[in-house]
């Protein structure tokens, strides 16, 4: 169980975001996201919420919203 949980979290985590795009280097983004996996049980709820928001984003259903900032590319 100790191994399974992080693996499941990792899968959810990796599914929760779009593939990377080339833009300015933001070296902290990955390190911030990884903290969800390192946050234990409390991180699971946040991951699921992020996952759910991404699904809504992809389906263009209200509630999720794309937060890409204009002019970042």
């Amino acid at each position: 169980m100790r191994l399974l949980t992080p693996l499941l979290l990792a899968c959810a985590f990796l599914l929760a975001w779009q593939p990377p795009v080339e833009a300015y280097l933001d070296p902290g983004s990955g390190s911030m996201l990884i903290q969800l996996l390192l946050g234990g049980v409390a991180g699971l709820a946040v991951i699921l919420k992020l996952f759910w928001r991404r699904i809504l984003d992809i389906l263009h259903i209200g509630g999720g919203h794309d937060r890409e900032r204009p002019g970042d590319a």
């Binding site: 992080p6 990792a10 990796l14 975001w17 779009q18 593939p19 990377p20 795009v21 080339e22 833009a23 300015y24 280097l25 933001d26 070296p27 902290g28 983004s29 990955g30 390190s31 911030m32 996201l33 990884i34 903290q35 969800l36 996996l37 390192l38 946050g39 234990g40 049980v41 409390a42 991180g43 709820a45 946040v46 919420k49 992020l50 928001r53 937060r67 890409e68 900032r69 970042d72 590319a73």
Partner: protein, 467 residues
Amino acid sequence: MPEAGVEPGSFRDRSARVFIQDDEVFRGLNERALEQWNTLSATAFFRRFVADGGLVGTERLDPAGRTLPAFAAEWAAVLRHDRIPFVSYPYEWSFGMLRDAALLQLDLLLAALDEGMTLKDASAYNVQWRGAKPVFVDIGSFERRPPGEPWIGYRQFCQLFLYPLLLTAYRDIPFHPWLRGSLEGIDPESCLNALGLGGRLRRGVLSHVYLQARAQAAYGGTRRDVKADLRAAGFDSALIKANATRLRKLIAGLTWKRGRSTWSEYTKCGHYEAADAEAKRRFVGRAAASGSRRLVWDLGCNTGTFSRIAAEHAGYVIALDADHLAVERLYQALKAENDRRILPLVGNLADPSPDLGWRNMERKRLASRGRPDLVLALALIHHVVIGANVPIDEFVDWLADLGGDIVIEFVTREDPMVGVLLRNKEDQYADYQIDVFERCLRARCEILEREPLGSGTRVMYWARPRG
């Protein structure tokens, strides 16, 4: 001491700036930083850590009655910090020092989170030392935690604390050259490569190194506002606490299991007859007790026997040795004694800490951080001249240029240790003769005392540079 004025290494955080005047350390704060200071100074953990010595003593300055530099007027407020006796850098610390500095950083983070604050960075350079006691000095790092914000300093903590410790603990790779060559620390990908396949199975590597390296590769260039995403999803301080608590457990359990090195066993190996050792101790004690000794450097300190003698008479002692294990053992001994007067550092005179960073001014060479009143160079000269090929007159000149008294032990060619150094080398050291050495010393210094030790192969000198 450093010149009065702005501390050139404090420019990164625009909300505050450190400056030094009349040997005192001040920090100018803008309006936002002043608000953070007002919050911090009212917390229980601030008082607790200052009382314990883990946080630098700090007070807000009443500008009335003090003459501060003109640029101080640009700031909303000015703090005065207790002075750290001698600034040092992570690439000069032993394994145990870096580990204890990391634990202090985590303890402060956890304590701050309990009271609604956080640390906005996690630089190892924010920790300094009073002897064997780590002291966190960057008061400007504390801020009220913005709701939903992750631990912004996590990556920096890994690069400057965790990865150097993992490489030394798991692979016996010294972190000093790496940190000296990269002020931002070791990136996850490089750490992963250095740990190798076997290292990936060790505790903490999968989560803090492997996953971070992969996440960084995948999301380092994302256009999404990750902070906003996390905030919207309800990122809570409980996540940071869980991560920091696990990190603390991981780091507290790391050990460097190097059993022995060239010099860590030196004093046990009987290089000295008992009578010689006693005469040497008395000689050093006399020199250290003479006059005001605010700062002493013990170069090639080994296990610190003479640093301790100097510390009986001096304000502060820098105990420097190139042998990491010898310095680590000295640190652990001093830590057990709760010492506050001897700072052990890893350093090689022939490959010394340079001026580094922006404009080569962020991190300074040793002599720019405080010149010694007394330098001990005991059984060192043969390593510098024969071991590192430094001409003897240049070594003596360098010692004299430091400006303080010099206690130097000359080891003659008849000594077995010199024989060991020459064993596999071409003897090109015509200058390594006691009469050449004395001529060089007299050219720059007045010799106050000269005492041959009973063994007949070692001579002690106490010299004072002229002018």
